[in-house]
């Protein structure tokens, strides 16, 4: 089978794929483990969504590791937590605009892999360049002519972009082709069972990615009635017709930030970035315990709570306390329906 990179910019193949998707409103709910098993295939290009560690589908990423997917190609604008899997055969290489955790520094497995040559960097981009590539796919353009990346080594070393000339003015432009990743997984606040995904806050690149990607899985904090979605559609960033699977995963962005609901699990992130993933041996031990040693996301959270000597509900409550108040977002609804009488804490309790 062809390498993921050979189909990454193939707009015709991407279109053929999407022509076959159903447009009908069909119930796409399934377990996260089934969705990952079915839609993340070995050798796929997998693009990270949200802002990596802010509204990222972390539960799905851990599940990818748990299922020992092989030779994925990462696309990061930004991203990189999935890089962890390269030491377990999970990631072959990456297209990189940014991999890191800002002030907390670099993600050690990424750095180790690239420096050792075991993790390939297929291309470097700027955030603006890669987001324009995805936006081009969403807007139906073959490529865009940009003023980013000009004159830099990023443009020189990236094998996919080209220096061009504006046909009207003659000035130099960076030509950026539309990108079509194989699979994308999103985490949103609300989704209906058909896949319409609604968020509070930044879409980052998500709408563009949803249309650009061939296979799309949506995980959500809660499933709500489609009437609730239709009554407040302005914040819907993912439309049903591109979605293949919908999974209800409360705390699915943990240990990342889920706007208005829970904030970064800061102590845990510091521990992971600065200690647990510092060496290959430590990373292996961490994965054995936290990923292979757990059945699902909630057992992982339970482990983290045990580590702190805390009751798991107190543990997640603490993260909720730091969350920026939902009222700031001018939405003020937790959504309704989803075919059950829904209270956030109750579901979280049941899930955990």
């Amino acid at each position: 089978m062809a390498h993921a990179n050979d189909r990454l910019f193939d707009h015709q193949m991407a279109r053929e794929f999407k022509l076959k998707k159903t447009r009908a409103l069909v119930d796409k709910r399934m377990d996260l483990s089934d969705a990952v098993a079915q839609y993340v295939e070995d050798g796929d290009s997998l693009i990270e969504t949200g802002f990596a560690y802010a509204r990222g589908p972390m539960a799905a990423y851990w599940e990818i590791g748990r299922q020992k997917k092989q030779n994925l190609v990462g696309i990061y604008t930004p991203g990189g937590l999935n890089n962890l899997w390269h030491e377990f055969g999970g990631i072959e290489g990456a297209h990189v605009a940014y991999v890191g955790v800002e002030m907390r520094g670099l993600i050690a497995p990424f750095r180790r892999g690239v420096e050792a040559g075991t993790l390939k960097v297929f291309s470097d981009w700027s955030h603006g360049g890669l987001s324009a590539s995805l936006r081009a796919a969403e807007q139906g353009m073959n490529y865009v002519a940009s003023k980013s990346m000009l004159g830099s080594d990023v443009m020189k070393d990236n094998p996919y972009v080209k220096l061009g000339e504006d046909p009207w003015t003659g000035e130099p432009v960076c030509l950026i082709p539309a990108m079509y990743p194989d699979v994308a997984i999103f985490h949103v606040h609300h989704a209906d069972k058909y896949g319409n995904g609604r968020v509070w806050g930044l879409s980052v690149n998500d709408t563009a990615i949803a249309i650009a990607a061939k296979k799309v899985v949506v995980t959500c904090e809660r499933i709500v009635d489609t009437d609730d979605i239709r009554a407040s559609a302005a914040n819907v960033i993912i439309p049903w017709y591109c979605v293949d699977a919908v999974c209800e995963v409360p705390y699915g962005a943990w240990p990342g930030d889920m706007p208005g609901m829970y904030y970064f699990d800061r102590p845990l992130q510091e521990q992971v970035v600065r200690v647990d993933w510092k060496t290959p041996e430590a990373t292996k031990a961490w994965v054995e315990t936290n990923i292979y040693g757990t059945k699902n996301h909630y057992e992982m959270i339970q482990l983290a709570a045990d580590e702190e000597g805390m009751n798991v509900l107190d543990y997640v409550k603490r993260l909720e306390q730091f969350a920026c108040s939902a009222a700031y977002f001018g939405i003020g609804t937790w959504g309704t329906g989803g075919e059950r009488d829904w209270k956030y804490e109750e579901v979280a309790k049941r899930a955990i």
């Binding site: 930004p78 991999v99 800002e102 700027s126 603006g128 830099s152 879409s203 980052v204 998500d206 930030d257």
Partner: protein, 256 residues
Amino acid sequence: MADEVQYTPRELLVVVASRLIQDGESVFVGTGLPLVGALLANHLHAPQMMAIYEGGSIGPEPTVLPWSVADSLTFCKAPIILSMSSTFGHSRAGYADIGFLGGAQVDMYGNMNATCIGPYDKPQVRLTGSGGANDMASLCQRIIFMGLHLPERFPEKVDYITSPGFLDGPGAREKAGLIGGGPWRVISHLGLMGFDEETCRMKLLSYHPGVTPEIIQQFTGFELLVDKDVEETRRPTEEELHVLRDVVDPNQLFVF
């Protein structure tokens, strides 16, 4: 000396940075210390500063220092929330006055590196990559860079041009097709630098208390020009330090 205000090098760096932002300007805010500097300016003398965050938020009113340039605090009370490609598009359109960023290296022409130390295809250290830095440096009107001042971090030529400064000298940005004005200020824990209009080379504008232009030269990997009006950097005031310590970063997440 005993009754003088005490501060750390990082605090000075952030305070000097905040002074460069004028009220009413728009600032594309990079992660880390730039985030702190921009918020400090916002709380001190630039209440009408318009912050742009690459995740898609413009003009928020964060109550607490965000951990990330795209976390929920960056769009607290934001009047509009967009997407990543929009923020860069709006910068290109002309809505971003200042791009405020950090990185591992900056060279004599203000080129910045956040990609790798050593050769690109076999790096000694692989860094984060551009993120929004290249776009800010390409599209914003003026660039402020913040970094630690060491010879290997201020080399004559960066190992990798992640974000374009003046490239290889006068006229190079225009030739490459870049539209923004390029590097404007560099702030380190030793001094404040600008760029010579004719040669596009970095020059010292002010040296921080406790060091001299000669000392700064020793920590710089190229010949640093010195402005004819070079002076000592004004010390942080009690007001500046109070707002930084008690309002902007009370938990000392960044500045310690």
